[in-house]
Symmetry: C2
Subunit: 427 residues, 2 copies
């Protein structure tokens, strides 16, 4: 047998016990919020037919697809969960009751040359509402993200939530560039999503690239970039008819947030468009207030995806929150809890003669639901005590020949240091 | 965009809400038992360097590896968790405290032509004790499997646990075929594991195959097969010196099981060898008592694996229990629970004017930890009531113009049918 590398593949993570406890702590919060909002858990395979993910709008997530061919099947590790969930909706559209609320916690993969310290996998919490066209759905999702932030200790001052509407942008461009080429809208959004990363001039260049999927004239491209800088909904609305649906939707969305008590948590920002092709309506992103990290979560309305994948037209809205950025933020703010192993009792036999008695004690404690480390072999007591203290154990049961001869065990409370004797067999 | 298949790749599963609840129910039992036995959760990437899994003993699990090359890296979806956990142990051997108890719940993959209705993925609960040479470790693992069976409702009559020792077989053959070629032991075990599936004659043929990795003489092969049929430890011991370590280990193991109260749950069976190359000592498998299903779980001691992967010699023992077979058994025995969605309250606004009041009620109930479905849009009350009853909801909050005008909501208990009014804002 060859000697394999000791590290997992580049860009992936091992979860040792302390990492795993933190991961499960975060996942438990995801789950708890999802359930409070009446979302049901679902999951799909991490390997899908590659075609499910392939789109032509130039998205990073598609370009970085982990894909391969086995026995003539083109397969991929999912880069995102939404297409799988959409596929599941289509497969059972006849028997599902809409609107449905689904959540998932799954691992996503992206294959890229490792240059920027980004990883190749992360876990993502997805929350999706399928079958509801009204912005009440978006408002529920924003409320759920805020509930999660609150539950993990992040206050209103720690996180900024920015909202825009792709429909607003689409309506604004409908009389212009999109009249000629409506199919340019998706790749256009993918390009302008790069604004904060590459700057306005580079975005204009990409929008005007004749070899690219958008291919605007320079003046058109400048107009698009200018639209991303408008200061508020009123300003954005000025170039649209007074009854523009996108403006009405945004206003109603903010009214709803007011009912949730969240209006002051959320700001309109015309530059937020998201980097996925399929969004059609309201989009949103959450950032740390200091702007030091990548986005904590993002989502939006994707009313066209299910139809494009072969289903009936079905409105849908969702968001994804990765485990990585929120972990960094919680770490920066010292909000990650210390999570000890969670052992209640250690049971220690002084020798092999006392082992059956130790097993009996461990058996009994476990049947009572206690978490019990039955010490294997016969390490020295001093070492066992040191380990127990390090792992925040509550009690240690000492089974020496004397005690066992009398049917008893010595029990030491490791916090108080007090000792007493207890019968091995409970009467 | 092309229209992808509606089904996930052949041999993989979608988990719709009812499937997901059952999966989480089973995982919660895995976790709960692991914690009662003081095991700590860990995880490793589902994609590893392929070399970690490749061995030359002819195992099915290696032949069916899901592997592919991307950017000159030979990668694989893990077919089993143990090599990853061994890799993790080696990478931090200096800072880990042994013996360690680790558990994991992860998905494993195998790529095979789909011919026998077997799936290409399953989830597996792994429990590993690393660093303990004594059979006290094996006994803890057997106790943990029995605890799991008990927790999900499977009694002593439902499951058979069969135990053997590869060390016993190895000691028996040491003077014979293994004296000449000790390296033949691993592939020999892999072949004889097929005994119940292909029969004694076919096993003899494989053992004698000159082109195969074992290549015994026919009389030697017959001797090996005969050893698999011995009736008990005493008979197996007859051909060995009285102080043979493997026999002493087995006897001590059964004495320990007696202390656990489990001696009558476990039988010696010389034909159990397991199909993985790396086992070295006690091996065990659990089956449904009626013998209708594949094995529910299996495991054993693998004292050589960590050293072979490049670590220090480290004794280890573990088992894996898949989610599929136990699910079938629980289903056959009607032990799978009905798990409703778990919604406490439905909140329904009669119209848009009442929506802010409905949001306020949902907000308050959620802040109290209740699981609340805030009805989106304005479906008919009749339909909302039907859905609520179908999903075992406890209460429905009705916000009509009359009630909201008085600052009240009507609350209906869906079990008793009783109604009362409650203030929207709690005083």
């Amino acid at each position: 047998m060859s000697r394999p590398a000791l590290q997992p593949p580049r860009g992936t993570r091992d979860f040792y016990p302390e990492d795993y406890r933190r991961r499960q702590w975060l996942f438990a919060h995801f789950r708890e919020v999802a359930e409070r909002f009446a979302f049901e858990g679902v999951d799909a395979p991490i390997v899908e037919h590659a075609e499910l993910f392939i789109r032509k709008a130039g998205e990073e997530i598609v370009e970085q697809l982990y894909h391969f061919t086995m026995h003539d099947r083109h397969l991929a590790l999912r880069g995102e969960l939404t297409p799988s969930l959409a596929r599941m909706v289509i497969a059972r559209a006849g028997s599902l009751r809409f609107p449905l609320r689904w959540y998932a916690i799954g691992q996503n993969w992206r294959y890229e040359r490792m240059t920027r310290g980004r990883r190749r996998e992360h876990y993502q919490w997805n929350m999706e509402i399928v079958g509801e066209p009204d912005v009440t759905a978006e408002a529920e999702l924003i409320a759920a993200t805020c509930a999660l932030f609150g539950d993990v200790g992040l206050g209103a001052g720690d996180v900024r939530i920015l909202v825009n509407s792709r429909a607003l942008l689409e309506e604004s461009l409908r009389g212009g560039v999109l009249a000629r080429r409506p199919e340019a809208f998706e790749p256009l959004c993918v390009v302008i999503d790069k604004l904060t990363k590459i700057g306005a001039d580079a975005v204009v260049d990409l929008l005007c690239d004749d070899a690219g999927p958008v291919s605007l004239k320079p003046a058109e491209a400048r107009d698009v970039v200018d639209m991303l800088g408008v200061a508020g909904i009123d300003e954005a609305a000025r170039s649209l008819p007074p009854d523009a649906p996108s403006v009405a939707g945004l206003r109603r969305f903010f009214e709803l947030l007011d009912a949730y008590g969240l209006a002051d948590r959320v700001d309109f920002d015309a530059s937020v468009v998201r980097g996925l092709a399929y969004y059609t309506g309201i989009v949103f992103e959450c950032f740390d207030s200091r702007g030091e990290l990548r986005s904590i979560c993002g989502g939006g309305r994707y009313d066209g995806l299910i139809e494009k994948l072969g289903g009936r037209p079905t409105p849908a809205v969702g968001f994804g929150m990765g485990d990585a950025v929120i972990h960094e933020l919680l770490s920066d703010k010292q909000l990650l809890p210390e999570l000890p192993p969670g052992i209640d009792d250690v049971v220690y036999a002084f020798g092999e003669a006392e082992r059956p008695a130790a097993v009996a004690v461990a058996n009994r404690l476990r049947s009572e639901g206690r978490r019990v480390d039955l010490v294997l072999g016969t390490p020295r007591l001093k070492r066992v005590m040191a380990d127990a203290n390090r792992r925040s154990v509550a009690r240690i049961w000492l089974l020496g020949p004397d005690e066992v001869g009398r049917g008893m065990a010595k029990v030491r409370d490791l916090e108080s240091g007090e000792e007493h004797e207890e019968a091995i067999e409970r009467s």
